[in-house]
Symmetry: C2
Subunit: 589 residues, 2 copies
């Protein structure tokens, strides 16, 4: 293995043999692209990821960010060097239109490129992911002057960006934020405000890497009597730079760093806004639109988390595979003596490797499928399906990427538990993903309460059509027909559960949203594995024996034999409307 990242062979399979990404190249809005331009981006991404993101993977874990005597946050320079080359390669700007200096790369290609960097170094990649999302938000909702001043340097990769949502007392519950913004005049960048408040969990909140940092801050504008509007309606969005356009330092200070279990290269800060004179910021768009603006980026942000989680799971699998091929231990059960064999010969090691393959490749496929839906601008069915699948992409990739990392440790045995190998760090890094950008519990509520229970659940209709179409195609191949049948059965059970829940008043209908999401997620993953198997099956029919396609078929079969049967176990409590959890009173614990 030349590197432990996602093999280009698999990315090409997913992008071209399965998702037919090239059908959109050469046509608006991607008329400037061809297989060649995209291949060049992926070649470059692979090279940069291997040469610049991978080498400081352990260093950034061992030398975590710290505040120097001036209070500034210091981060290993290798992170800055890698991101500087990422900028030079045009990858900050890649997804933006040419008038903003970009190459208008399809989001699907950006996602594939990002998967390589995330596999190499999730924490370093996070700076780029946040900066790109920040700039895109300003470009989308800000004025031209705001975009020119605050987004353009981020698109160049000279400045980095953050998203400031949570506060110490308000994590997932944004209605309760207390940061306030008071009008301070206006200037070329719009109405100017003074902000005061504390923001928690700010990734990249301070660092020694970029010339400036643009904070996008959710805050409330108080009424004349000084009170804040209750709930989420009063939330607006503000651009708050670390260094102001006139070169002065803004009133933003680092109150502390969070010392994390993993993901350590990403400095994570508690920021105080306006400790002295009030932090200067400019509102984006209209008052009260902050949450809507922020959440309009949420599909991409959550798919981004999914891509990262899948990529980290994938890399763990590749390490485990390499170890299992090399490590000699034990003998095959049917042999009498003889030398030890590579542990990949043992049935249970195969099971652990196939689980990882099914989880990691499945999660990547799911996230890239969603990324393609992002690119299908103006297609209502695609938009509905994307909205439905986003909480699954985020959660399934996070939960099973981590499960893959857990198994990667297990394949390594005691060695996997030591810091001499990478798999323990991958496991620690990936543990954040089920938490940030909306926990698994938050995603489950989004899926059930917002996307499925209200009728018509238009995303669900699209999904069901596509699942049926896949099953129908698969049913014509003897090797896949039993899977097609299992898939239809699983989805009919999932749909029955939705029917049951629709007949029940809330909150009871959503009390067991997480087990429901687990079942739904496995249903989606199984569907996409059958999709991959169809492609592999056709290719094998044409080309004859081929280990890559055989691997896809084996992983699909594994998923249907070992994983899909778990669905009824999760649905049991859901359809029984069990209140064994929700009826618990605090005293019984």
């Amino acid at each position: 293995m030349s590197h432990p990242l996602i093999p280009r062979r698999d990315l090409d399979f997913l992008l071209y043999e399965w998702l037919k990404a090239d059908l959109s190249y050469g046509r608006p809005p991607y008329e400037d692209h061809s297989r060649e331009t995209v291949d060049a981006v992926l070649d470059l991404s692979e090279r940069l990821a291997v040469d610049l993101f991978l080498p400081h993977y352990k260093q950034a874990d061992q030398c975590e960010p710290f505040q120097d005597t001036s209070g500034a946050v210091q981060v290993p320079q290798a992170i800055g060097d890698a991101l500087w080359q990422y900028a030079r390669a045009g990858l900050f700007s890649a997804g933006f239109p040419s008038e903003l200096g970009g190459m208008n790369l399809p989001y699907l290609v950006h996602a594939a490129s990002f998967s390589l960097f995330a596999a190499a170094n999730l924490a370093t990649s996070a700076y780029a992911m946040l900066t790109i999302a920040n700039a895109r938000l300003i470009v989308t909702y800000g004025t031209q002057a705001q975009a020119q001043q605050f987004a353009a340097p981020q698109i160049e990769g000279r400045w980095f960006g953050t998203m400031c949502l949570s506060e110490p007392q308000a994590g997932s519950s944004l209605a309760d934020i207390r940061t306030r913004a008071v009008v301070d005049g206006d200037d070329e960048f719009g109405v100017r405000y003074r902000l005061t408040g504390n923001k928690m969990w700010i990734s990249g909140g301070d660092q020694s890497l970029s010339e400036n940092i643009i904070h996008l801050v959710l805050a409330k504008v108080p009424a004349e009597d000084g009170t804040l509007i209750e709930g989420t309606k009063g939330i607006s969005l503000f651009i708050v730079p670390k260094v102001l356009p006139d070169g002065r330092r803004n009133d933003v200070t680092v109150a502390g760093l969070n010392h994390k279990m993993g993901y350590r290269g990403t400095a994570n800060c508690l920021l105080n806004f306006g400790e002295t004179s009030g932090a200067i910021g400019w509102m984006i768009g209209e008052p009260g639109q902050g949450l809507r603006q922020m959440f309009s980026m949420m599909n991409e942000a959550r798919i981004g988390v999914g891509i990262g989680a899948a990529a980290v799971g994938y890399r763990g699998y590749r390490h485990a595979l390499a170890y299992a091929q090399e490590r000699l231990q034990g003998r095959k059960p049917e042999s009498k003596g003889g030398p030890p064999v590579p542990i990949i010969e043992h049935a249970d090691v195969k099971r652990m490797l196939l689980s990882q393959k099914a989880y990691a490749e499945g999660a990547l496929a799911l996230c890239l499928y969603c990324a393609k839906l992002v690119d299908e601008h103006g297609d209502e069915a695609a938009a509905d399906l994307l909205s439905l699948l986003t909480p699954i992409a985020k959660t399934w990739a996070s939960e099973y990427g981590l499960a893959a990392n857990d198994l990667a440790i297990q394949v390594h045995g005691g060695y996997g538990y030591t810091r001499d190998f990478d798999v323990e760090q991958l496991y620690r890094d990936n543990r954040l993903n089920p938490i940030h950008e909306g926990t698994t519990g938050v995603q489950a509520m989004d899926l059930l309460a917002r996307k499925l229970l209200p009728e018509p659940a238009s995303g669900m209709l699209v999904l069901r059509q596509r699942v049926n179409a896949t099953s129908h195609m698969a049913s014509e191949f003897p090797a896949l027909a039993p899977h097609a049948e299992s898939l239809m059965k699983a989805w009919s059970e999932i749909e029955s559960a939705i029917e049951v829940l629709r007949d029940v008043p809330r909150p009871r209908a959503t009390d067991n949203a997480v087990p429901f999401l687990q079942a739904f997620g496995h249903g989606v993953a199984a569907w996409l594995w059958l999709e991959q198997a169809l492609v592999a099956n056709r290719a094998l029919d044409k080309a004859g024996a081929n280990a890559f396609y055989a691997g896809k078929l084996q992983a699909c079969r594994f998923f249907f034999d070992f994983e899909l049967p778990r669905v009824p176990g999760w649905l049991a409590a859901v359809v029984a409307l069990s209140d064994a959890a929700s009826s618990a009173t605090p005293d019984i614990f």
Copy 2:
């Protein structure tokens, strides 16, 4: 909550209300014990665990063992201080008979005591666990002179002990060990040997805490032509002290320390035996008996791992519970506005807490049940059942203790991912338990290939009788009758799977041993939850409303609604004899 360890209320429930531990007190071999003497031991254990083991929990993680310039391993002194008080309290010797300075404590009580120390500080407790096991082995199989010289100081807690099994090239595969022992004469301690070889993963392999370290080393005595006997038959067991009886240092050197993800207070070493003149050691018992001797201790060692894993899971649950009671965030779905509520009010937080309760209390119950079987000397049914349940106690507690720790992080949200809280360290510490003392894969083979497939599977007959008896009792209570029915159904599915596997030649019958073990483990856990529920149900009938008993009933109901339904999902691939994993060839990955 006065401390985050296992509540005494639950230990008392498990020991007395459920397991009726006091029925054995006052009668041989426990004629010196009464509820009072045992309570004193548990009181003392709780106090020492809280006052001496808990305070350096984080310090031992942050200041991990290192080799000083002389090559000696330095460990934080707080670990030594805690263990010295543990020794002063007579807890090293507690399980040994009075003629060896002990108090002949039942193993069940020792296990309950140990659970408190493991919850407080698993890594510090490990030194005691290993030392006690080492001394017990010498006392059981060694000569009186060996016991006097090498076991007695360990029973006093002045010297510590290790178990040296694995070698760098031979982890789980002990047949391949290459450490050799050559006769060097004989003396008062028996036949004396010179040992040469490398031993890997030696917990406590060197440290700065005890006056001496007694290594128990598996090695092979070469034939006259210098060759080693193939397989496990040639393995013997040797006592190899760090400091020899005459005060000289033995030829044992630390070749390196393993830097682990967690469990860091326990120094884990690669040891070289006999780099110069050969390490001096004395054989225990007869040649070729090494593995048998070592494995005669294995039930207790594996239950010990299970207890530790359960205890760490339990402590995580207690932290999550405290956090959920205090942390204010969000509102109940039915409320309109108002102040934020403690997150324990949210259905999904309740689900996560109940999962942890079901896993952690369930795992502790399982391990204590096994500990009681250890005490039932001479009862053949108990011995058969213990042999069957040991791989479950080890694995289920390890896997679900860790799962509980994962959920404890999730309840804390982002805070749980930081080192300001303890739950991330508990998660890292517990990740070792599914690996050491036989991985989950090794346990699954033990369960299926050794304990269940060969007929008569006498342990299984005992288990089935007891499951039936529990179900029969439960079926008389309306609240428990549905669980009784579910339990019978699950066990009949598990038994059908065993029948299917018995008709299949190996290795195929054992290819999917791990999913089988997962199903079996949940079946056992469900049975013991129903046992606990029966006790709680009777107590409620007598005493009226009581939150503790209500909690036991709620956790039981939760397990039957949310967890037991997972059993068919694991069995599906088993009974289908799926070769989707085992047929994978190395090239398809």
